[in-house]
């Protein structure tokens, strides 16, 4: 088991190196003079020259990359022009908001999609099956920002059930004392049910938007995988042994069928992390996505670079976790290593 984890970790290193190189190249690939961009639109030629020297933009590319890597190792992602704060600090502050949203969305998605896929596979051509297929096909066609807007229109404007899409918490309430940064968890820890409910209400629509977005690939994969497993030899043996329906479908079929679904989760995360940015814009969510978008519009490039790097590193880490999870379930991967 440990060898497998170490092997996977080792395999992640080239990816991380590639990520660092690409993010470096992205900012040095700016058309024109990078110093101008980093100095900002209002800079004087003298200020630009200062920035150029300060960021080492007059040095050879290799040396620049070396400095970049060293900075990264120290957790230095540069400074934002618009806020004057270190990018790393701002990202760290805003990360829990994005994480809470994305994880809740994914959780809701799995809770709906997996049972839907299982039911669709065990009752082929039934109503559930047709619904599953429609959702899978339609779900991938819906632009995520469009879904968000429709939800706001229906549930906030028309029905008045949801609060205004203005961020994580109602203006009148203050955030709970910081433990994890997740308002849901922190408010429970602080024993503050009012804040908990208020946070939850703000979370529902954006999380639902993300959930709808990731529902389709998960449901489709679960259904396809279950269908394949249900007609396999191992299920035939289980049925021939007279095992109960629950044992056959869940203990025997589902656990085997989950394996391709877990692999799919990697791709789902790729989409989710991207969709996060769009959802944060729709719901004015103060996460790292909206941080990057605001910086972009102000031509403030350090935060954008930091954002892309952070997202990529998180993605590599998530894929690593998925690999390990897969190994936990499938002994063939674990023990063969």
């Amino acid at each position: 088991m440990l060898t497998m984890v170490l092997k996977r970790l080792a395999m992640a290193i080239p990816s991380l190196i590639g990520v660092v190189v690409v993010t470096f190249l992205l900012t040095r690939a700016l058309p024109g003079d990078p110093a101008v961009y980093f100095a900002g639109p209002a800079a004087t030629p003298q200020a630009i020259q200062e920035v150029r020297v300060k960021l080492g933009l007059d040095k050879p590319l290799i040396e620049q990359f070396g400095r970049y890597a060293v900075d990264l190792a120290h957790g230095n992602l540069g400074t934002s022009l618009t806020t004057g704060q270190p990018v790393a600090t701002e990202l760290r502050n805003r990360l829990p908001a994005s994480a809470e949203l994305t994880l809740l969305g994914l959780l809701v998605s799995i809770v709906i999609a997996v049972p839907l896929g299982i039911l669709a596979a065990t009752k082929p051509n039934s109503l559930v099956d047709q619904a599953c297929r429609v959702i899978s096909t339609a779900g991938v066609s819906l632009p995520v920002f469009f879904t968000g807007l429709i939800l706001v229109y229906v549930f906030y404007y028309l029905l008045g059930w949801a609060p205004a899409p203005l961020g994580r918490l109602d203006v009148f309430l203050s955030e709970p004392p910081h433990v994890t940064g997740f308002y849901l968890i922190d408010s429970l820890i602080a024993g503050d049910p009012e804040t908990f409910m208020a946070s939850l209400k703000q979370l529902i629509l954006p999380a639902l938007t993300l959930a709808i977005f990731s529902l389709a690939p998960i449901a489709r994969m679960t259904r396809a995988s279950m269908l394949a497993i249900l007609s396999s030899d191992l299920v035939r043996t289980a049925r021939a042994s007279g095992l109960s329906a629950y044992t056959v479908i869940i203990t025997y079929a589902f656990r085997n069928a989950m394996l391709p679904v877990i692999t799919t989760l990697g791709m789902v995360f790729s989409f989710l992390l991207g969709a996060n940015v769009l959802v944060e814009k729709v719901f004015a969510w103060p996460g790292i996505g909206s941080y990057a978008v605001e910086a972009l519009l102000a031509s403030d490039f350090a935060p954008v670079q930091g954002f892309v790097l952070t997202m990529a590193v998180m993605y590599v880490a998530l894929n690593l976790l998925i690999d390990i999870l897969y190994g936990l379930i499938d002994p063939r991967v674990r023990l063969d290593a």
Binding site: G18, Y157, L273, G274, L296, A312, Y315
Partner: protein, 294 residues
């Protein structure tokens, strides 16, 4: 005297393909519907700007934010522009972005993948490394980064979309080229003295194309979503150019006050287009490789 005209000419492969296409569409009316929709979208892209009732850029502040009516089928936006005209005209831009992205990634990914599969060795390793590095990023985030770095233009959206889809095409092309590398007809071509690039371009690539075509249809849908998403956050297309993504962005602020038509119609157009390309991709898959039906 032999009457040559009396002997039936063998069916050309194009005719056979069309006949097979008609059979598949007959079998599966959904594919036929998707194909018809595709033609409709293409026609709107080409002829739309000439046929719309209003100038998409003409503002008329008196008429601003009017709901859908007989005068303005999709209503008007905050500057009084007719949304229907703007949605139809935007078809051209979004369609163009989709087609251009897909063409670019087919060339880049297809050629790189075919070369990697055919030559193996270092070519394979380098292409693989590039693909792996691209896939280490969440794709939309990478597209954001590329457009931010290269500049805020439509060309760069196309380039970013192509780069982000490169790994998939390279992988498919590589696998197909690998299979065919040792095939008989390739050996024959090699033995008769054809240069490698000729074999690649004339023998292998045409064989790889059908399999990539399925992916290309699906990528067109993704390319439109990508472009719309980037425009939604302010990258790529700039107002007042009509494009579905920025139209939704501009309309977003009015949702909370109930003027739904601003964001709804361009969003619905997006949905319909992407849905069409996805259905078409599924149908093409049945046409090209019935074994892979889901």
């Amino acid at each position: 005297m032999t009457d040559i005209a009396a002997t039936p000419r063998p069916e050309s492969s194009l005719v056979a393909l069309l006949r097979h296409a008609r059979y598949v569409i007959g079998e599966n009316p959904v594919t036929g519907f998707a194909f018809a929709l595709f033609v409709l979208i293409a026609l709107a892209a080409v002829f739309g700007p000439h046929l719309v009732p209003y100038d998409p850029l003409a503002s008329d502040t008196v008429e601003s934010l009017k709901p859908p009516s007989l005068h303005h089928w999709f209503g008007t936006d905050q500057l009084g522009r007719d949304i229907f005209s703007r949605v139809v005209v935007a078809t051209r831009l979004d369609f163009f972005i989709a087609v251009a992205s897909v063409a670019l990634v087919f060339l880049m990914g297809g050629l790189a993948g075919v070369a990697a599969g055919f030559y193996g060795g270092w070519t394979d390793r380098i292409v693989g490394r590039i693909a792996d590095t691209i896939m280490a990023f969440p794709l939309f985030v990478l597209a954001m980064g590329i457009v931010a770095a290269l500049g805020n233009t439509v060309q760069n959206i196309i380039i970013a979309t192509a780069i982000v889809n490169f790994p998939l095409y390279a992988r498919i092309a590589r696998a197909e080229a690998n299979i065919r590398r040792d095939a008989g007809f390739v050996e024959a071509a090699r033995l008769s003295g054809n240069a490698d690039w000729r074999i690649l371009a004339l023998q292998i690539l045409p064989n790889v194309f059908p399999i990539l075509v399925v992916q290309m249809s699906l990528t067109m849908g993704y390319a439109i979503l990508n472009a719309a998403g980037l425009s939604f956050i302010g990258l790529g297309v700039r107002p007042p150019t009509p494009e579905w993504g920025i139209m939704v962005a501009e309309g977003a602020q009015f949702i909370v006050s109930g003027e739904w038509w601003n964001a709804f119609f361009p969003g619905a157009a997006l949905m319909v287009a992407v849905f069409c390309f996805n259905l078409l991709g599924d149908g093409l898959r049945d046409l090209v490789d019935p074994r892979r039906r889901t």
